[in-house]
């Protein structure tokens, strides 16, 4: 296995090198290392090129001398490197030493796409390389926003980033968080200097990539400075950066260019423009039109609260004490700043026709022009701008509200909601300002004013004449429409910019609750249906009611309850509730969850006819269609759903449920398109990840649940994702919440309504499936070991039984643990897949987890894999860790900003420690001793823990793990025996009993 690391070389080149776990760490040698030695376990060029596959083609092979942490004459492993034998604990001091490694080097134009293309699939990457990818993304973003300036660097044309405001802050954050490993080839270069070089180089590459094929100037040559300018312009696009020009002309070009661009970043002391509203009561009757004012001030750019009004500046002769640190001629600075600002906002010039202008008086239209046009440009150019708080706030805009009333047929008593999409509702429109409805008279008065800003009930409102006219027309309408039309109108995206925004749709009864996103709280909870064996908690009954209600309306939903709140149970209860004749439900989930669903369905809804659609022998075409009609629940995986899309689409599904719905977050993948195209009357997406925070994911999942609700992907991105994620647009975020709210049910363990009936410790057995590779290894171990056990006795037999047990458990954990071959981890173990899913949710929620294993080597593999996968530090406590180091780990983990994942070997970490920062505990493999496991669990679940602790105990379905787990549950006596003896009791079983215990049951394997 290779871990690829990134370096930045002086001269603007990216270099990749890798550690290779197949190459052994050298024997430890005491003493000082020589000045330079070959790195003992760095990947050679062929291996490195192999790991990078296509990306290696554009690289140049080289080597680099790295400064690396070294202990006893050997470089230390990076945390991502997986070794079979965990490194022996070292007590010797760590120093820096120089090691030569083979590298692949990339020019900036190759480095940029390479860094952007690294996805989850490629080789394992070190944190440093991920960090460089983050810088590359920033460079592209700067270029796309035009925050770059063309310049000259010696004889090269270059696009440099212009960093102001939050961009400068982000660049500093990137520099401060730069992993030292990126500087290994340039140890004497400070992090800030190196990051500046990386960002400059990548910004230049990003601009050239964006300008691919663009020519700024023709090939005519020109003479003197003109020739230099032309050569420079040619060198600003394409790959050729250097250009030739006469030295004198080049000097002129450089100086003039720099002087021209000097003001781009703004001055340390800048002009600030503050819009002041007219006084609350107009002085003369209807003079509400006037009295706006933009006041001038000087402001320290690095300390915006330090502000001096223009009036004060004009009244002071010398320096100003408040800004003394920054300047001593405030009047001239203010004048120069105003002169510059007047280029961007020409109206300003007129205000400067007095001797000591302190502001500009504006009428209402002028104020609106300033708000709409002047202020954004001035702000973006680095001037200070202070606007009244109501501007850009949704409450200050005129919008329409739709009010609907459900009809009750005359003479009948509405017992229960029989609302369907075709039901008629009466509706009327009203116009409102934020939350306040407006009367027709008020509206007519407003229409007469013909100004873009009006004061209404003491508040200023932006009023668009076209929209107001549209609104007045809307008021004329009214009547009846169907629930379907109502939802379409009230909730779908609007594309017409001239239309009045729909601020809200209100209705009475259950429909109103749905629209307000309150349905779950107001619907009558639904009790356990007859076919359901189990007890639903109150919030689960409400969830069931919500799901049923959406279904009755023919709408899809996203059940996004936090992990541990029982999403599976709610879905099963919904299935049990349905009419047998309704038709089959298709459940699509990751391979790792199939076994879980199967078992939960058997436990909670034994009456359901469940079929798992997988394996090479699975039915296809008409055979499947026919079979499906006699089944209530078909379980399949995303992979099969994509592969058998045509077969699955032929079944008239009553319902399609997708579990771990973030699997289709990338809307363009085959899986996502296949799942979306399945015909169904009712669609439910289940996920524990907070989808509402990742808008592209939200779109893809909602497109499955309620196709078309969020509009097309491109429109959605432009109207919501970009404004919200990039520019922090609260208005858009609120609109999006209103539209999606009715269809997303997410409850947290911290909700007051939940916590009251939630136990403090939630234990769950997580059933994992074996991969085909795991299953064949497992089978081989069973065959081999049973044969040997059969022909042995006494102490030898005992030893063989325990060895067999260990090997089987290793096969259940991961093939690489059993084989000890240092092979790659991803995609080969059902447990690992499930662990990744759980930890993704834990990290997304900002929580922390403890991961227990009894195998030190597996802990090491997990640490490497998880730190590579998450890019976060993963702590690992095993028997070789000294006391001081252990205490330091515990302290760091308990700290709020500390690492979120902590792997512990059961022996080293099972007792004594206080790890209450975690509220998740995962037992990856089992000791079969509840007392030992509970003791480990209690590291998190103890005094000081304020949240409910979620305990996940992994069991491989159909294997010895599940069978022992069952035996312990059913036979209390056995449990007592185990507590005393660990796995010793196994050795007393007969060979026939062992065979039964070890044999792999069908259904344990899942083809992927």
């Amino acid at each position: 296995m290779l871990v690829v690391h990134g370096l930045w070389l002086t001269g603007g080149r990216l270099a990749l090198w890798a550690e290779n776990s197949a190459r052994p760490a050298p024997p430890r040698r005491p003493g000082r290392p020589p000045r330079e030695r070959p790195h003992p376990f760095a990947a050679d060029h062929p291996d490195l090129a192999d790991a990078l596959s296509d990306a290696a083609a554009k690289a140049v092979a080289g080597s680099a001398l790295l400064t690396l942490p070294t202990r006893r004459g050997a470089p230390l492993d990076s945390p991502e490197l997986v070794r079979i034998e965990p490194a022996a604990p070292g007590r010797a001091a760590v120093t820096l030493a120089r090691w030569r490694v083979p590298t692949l080097e990339y020019d900036p134009d190759e480095a940029l796409p390479l860094l952007q293309a690294f996805g989850e699939d490629g080789p394992v990457r070190g944190v440093g390389l991920r960090h460089l990818a983050e810088v590359a993304a920033f460079a592209s973003d700067l270029v796309a926003r035009g925050r770059t300036l063309p310049g000259i660097d010696g004889d090269r044309a270059i696009w440099r980033p212009l960093l102001t405001g939050s961009d400068a802050a982000w660049a500093r954050s990137l520099a401060l968080a730069l992993p030292p490993a990126v500087r290994a080839a340039t140890p004497d270069t400070a992090a800030g200097v190196l990051l500046a070089e990386v960002l400059d180089t990548l910004t230049d590459a990003a601009a050239r990539a964006a300008l691919d094929g663009v020519r700024l100037v023709d090939n005519r040559r020109g003479s003197g400075t003109d020739a230099a300018v032309r050569a420079w312009l040619r060198a600003l696009t394409g790959r050729q950066r250097s250009f030739t020009a006469a030295p004198a002309a080049l000097a002129i070009l450089t100086n003039e260019m720099n002087a021209w661009q000097r003001d781009a970043a703004g001055s340390p002391v800048r002009a600030c423009f503050r819009l002041v509203e007219p006084p609350p009561e107009p002085v003369d009757g209807d003079g509400a039109d006037d009295g706006w004012r933009v006041e001038f001030a000087l402001q320290a750019a690095d300390e915006p609260s330090l502000m001096v009004d223009a009036e004060q500046i004009w009244a002071t002769r010398g320096g100003l004490r408040a800004l003394a640190r920054h300047l001593d001629t405030p009047q001239e600075t203010l004048l120069a700043e105003l002169g510059r600002a007047s280029r961007l906002w020409p109206e300003l010039a007129e205000a400067l026709r007095t001797a000591a202008p302190a502001g500009i008086d504006l009428d209402t239209e002028g104020a609106h022009r300033f708000l709409r046009d002047g202020a954004p440009v001035l702000h973006a150019a680095g001037f200070g701008v202070l606007l009244p708080s109501w501007w850009q706030r949704p409450g200050s805009r005129l919008g329409a509200r739709l009010q609907a009333a459900t009809r009750t047929a005359p003479g009948t008593v509405a017992v229960r909601s029989t609302l369907g999409l075709e039901s008629l509702v009466d509706y009327r429109w009203e116009l409102a300002l934020g939350d306040e409805p407006l009367s027709v008279d008020e509206l007519k008065t407003l229409a007469k004013l013909k100004t873009p800003l009006v004061r209404l009930r003491g508040r200023w409102v932006e009023l668009d004449a076209k929209r107001l006219a549209a609104g007045l027309k809307l008021l004329q309408s009214g009547g009846a429409m169907t629930v379907g039309e109502l939802l379409q109108l009230g909730l779908s995206m609007q594309d017409d910019p001239d239309a009045l925004p729909v601020l809200g749709v209100t209705a009475d009864g259950a429909l109103g609750d749905l629209l307000a996103g309150r349905a779950e709280q107001h619907l009558a909870p639904v009790d356990e249906p007859p076919g359901f064996r189990g007890v639903l908690r109150p919030y689960q009954k409400r969830g069931l009611a919500w799901l049923s209600f959406l279904q009755s309306l023919g709408l899809g939903g996203i059940l996004a309850d936090q992990m541990g709140l029982g999403k599976t149970i709610q879905i099963l209860a919904l299935l049990a509730k349905q009419d047998v004749t309704a038709g089959p439900t298709l459940l699509v989930c990751p391979m790792s969850l199939v076994g879980n669903w199967q078992r939960e369905a058997a436990a909670f809804t034994p009456g359901l006819r469940v079929h798992v659609h997988h394996g090479a022998e699975r039915a296809r075409g008409e055979a499947f269609t026919a079979a499906a009609s006699n089944i209530d629940l078909v379980i399949t995986t995303y992979t099969i759903a994509a592969r058998d899309a045509a077969t699955l689409a032929d079944v008239p599904w009553h319902r399609v449920v997708i579990d771990e719905a973030q699997a289709i977050k990338n809307a363009a993948t085959r899986q996502a398109t296949a799942v979306r195209s399945l015909p169904a009357r009712h669609r439910i997406a289940v996920t524990g990840t907070p989808v509402e925070n990742r808008l592209a994911d939200l779109w893809s999942i909602m497109e499955f649940a309620n196709p078309g609700l969020l509009g097309g992907a491109a429109t959605f991105r432009k109207r919501y994702a970009e404004p919200i994620e990039r520019h922090g647009d609260d208005d858009a975020a609120q609109r999006l919440r209103r539209i999606t709210g009715p269809f997303v049910l997410r409850r947290l363990k911290t909700d007051k309504s939940i916590i009251s009936d939630l136990p403090e410790k939630l234990e769950a057995e997580i059933f994992c499936t074996l991969t085909a590779e795991q299953a064949s290894l497992y089978q081989a171990v069973v065959d081999d070991m049973l044969a040997r056990i059969e022909s042995s006795d006494g102490i030898e037999r005992r030893g063989l039984v325990l060895a067999a047990m260990t090997k089987l458990k290793q096969a259940c954990n991961h093939p690489a643990q059993l084989l000890r071959d240092g092979s790659a981890l991803p995609g080969r173990s059902g447990k690992l897949a499930r662990l990744e899913e759980i930890l993704d949710e834990v990290l997304a929620a900002g929580e922390k987890a403890l991961i227990f294993t009894q195998y030190a080597e597996f802990g090491g593999m997990l640490r490497a894999h998880l730190s590579a996968r998450t890019g976060r530090e993963v702590l690992y406590l095993h028997g070789g860790v000294g006391r001081t180091d252990r205490d330091a780990m515990v302290t760091r983990f308990q700290h709020d900003d500390g690492p979120p994942l902590f792997i512990l070997s059961l022996k080293a970490g099972g007792t004594g420690l206080n790890l209450t920062a975690a509220n998740h505990v995962v037992h990856v493999d089992r000791w079969w001793n509840p007392a030992v496991e509970d003791q480990a669990t209690d590291r998190a679940f103890r005094i000081g823990q304020r949240r409910a602790v979620q305990v996940h105990k992994f069991v491989c379905a159909g294997t010895v793990e599940e069978k022992i787990s069952e035996m312990i549950r059913e036979k209390q006596g056995l449990a007592a025996k185990i507590i005393g003896s660990g796995e010793q009791w196994l050795t007393e079983l007969s060979t026939a009993e062992l065979r039964q215990l070890f044999t792999l049951e069908s259904g344990a394997v899942m083809e992927q």
Binding site: G146, S166, A207, G224, A336, A380
Partner: protein, 304 residues
């Protein structure tokens, strides 16, 4: 016998070179206004040669003082010629009137300090009875100690061109020639604004500070300038973290990367609008248009 006037001029190292190397010299209306006076005389080859002198760096020095511009121009003879362009400075009462006009409207100072000469300024001077630009060449006292009988000679013409460029770079220089240097003018305007007594003895400190205040143009005249962009500007003062202090967290970020704060939505060509056209010497508005094409292409189309 030799005709030194028609000989090639001696090559000069380190002379003042016109920064424009092609086409007309003078980008702004004010330097054009000034050169128009010279060019209206249609001096033919002398004008052309003067321009190439200016571009070749034959002018060794240029000094602007109230009433007189003096220059040293290297011709074909060993000793450079001394050139002087005289224009009577405005008398104090005229300046007092002008200053009152200027002080009454902050716009003039604002534009001047931002590097522009507002076009109305010409009317202000005319109103005060003191035209800013000479109407005819005869108003100028032109001197050159070269043997050429014609006035203006090519040395004078070269001086004119460099003078126009100096005005381009810093419009305060015109006013200086007409009798008010930048520091004194700013000080008097400040005094008029605040209604205080004019302190006419320029103190060294105040001159320094006035020269540095918001001055975008001061060192355009010479010396290497630093780039106005580049990540190093924002990352200059970060604490140095030597590698040796990071051995225990070598592979990981020293501090976690915080969440990124939102950025402003801006039009991609905002920077070009903010900067205005570059100097004519490097392409002026034409260059701006070419760069605008580049900026239009920078904006990535949102992915579907």
């Amino acid at each position: 016998m030799s005709f030194p006037d028609y000989d090639r001029p001696r090559r000069v190292e380190g002379g003042l070179r016109a920064r424009s190397t092609r086409g007309p010299i003078g980008r702004s209306w004010w330097s054009r206004r000034f050169l128009d006076v010279l060019e209206s005389f249609a001096l033919g080859t002398r004008l052309t040669r003067g321009r190439s002198y200016a571009r070749a760096g034959q002018v060794l020095s240029l000094d602007i003082a109230p009433g007189t511009v003096t220059a040293v121009v290297q011709g074909s003879r060993a000793t450079p010629y001394r050139v002087a362009v005289g224009l009577p400075p405005f008398p104090e009462p005229v300046w007092a009137r002008i200053e009152q006009f200027l002080a009454d409207q902050a716009l003039y100072s604002a534009r001047l300090l931002a590097g522009d000469l507002p076009s109305e300024l010409e009317q202000v001077f005319a109103q005060a009875g003191a035209p800013l630009f000479p109407a005819q060449i005869s108003e100028l006292d032109l001197r050159c100690n070269c043997p050429d009988f014609a006035v203006p000679c090519k040395h004078l013409a070269a001086t004119f061109y460099l003078l126009a460029e100096a005005f381009d770079a810093d419009p305060f220089q015109i006013l200086h020639w007409r009798g008010r240097d930048r520091e004194r003018l700013l000080m008097r305007l400040r005094a008029l604004r605040t209604g205080e007594e004019v302190d006419d003895t320029p103190s060294g400190h105040r001159e320094d500070s006035a020269a540095s205040a918001g001055d975008a143009t001061a060192d355009r005249m010479g010396g290497a300038t630093a780039a106005a962009s580049g990540a190093a500007l924002a990352l200059a003062d970060l604490p140095a973290a030597p590698l040796a202090e990071a051995v225990d967290r070598f592979w990981l970020p020293p501090v976690p990367l915080p969440a990124r704060t939102p950025t402003l939505a801006t039009a991609p060509d905002l920077l070009l609008r903010q900067l205005g056209p570059p100097p004519a010497s490097i392409g002026g508005p034409g260059l701006l248009e070419r760069l605008r094409r580049a900026y239009e292409n920078l904006r990535a189309e949102p992915l579907p």
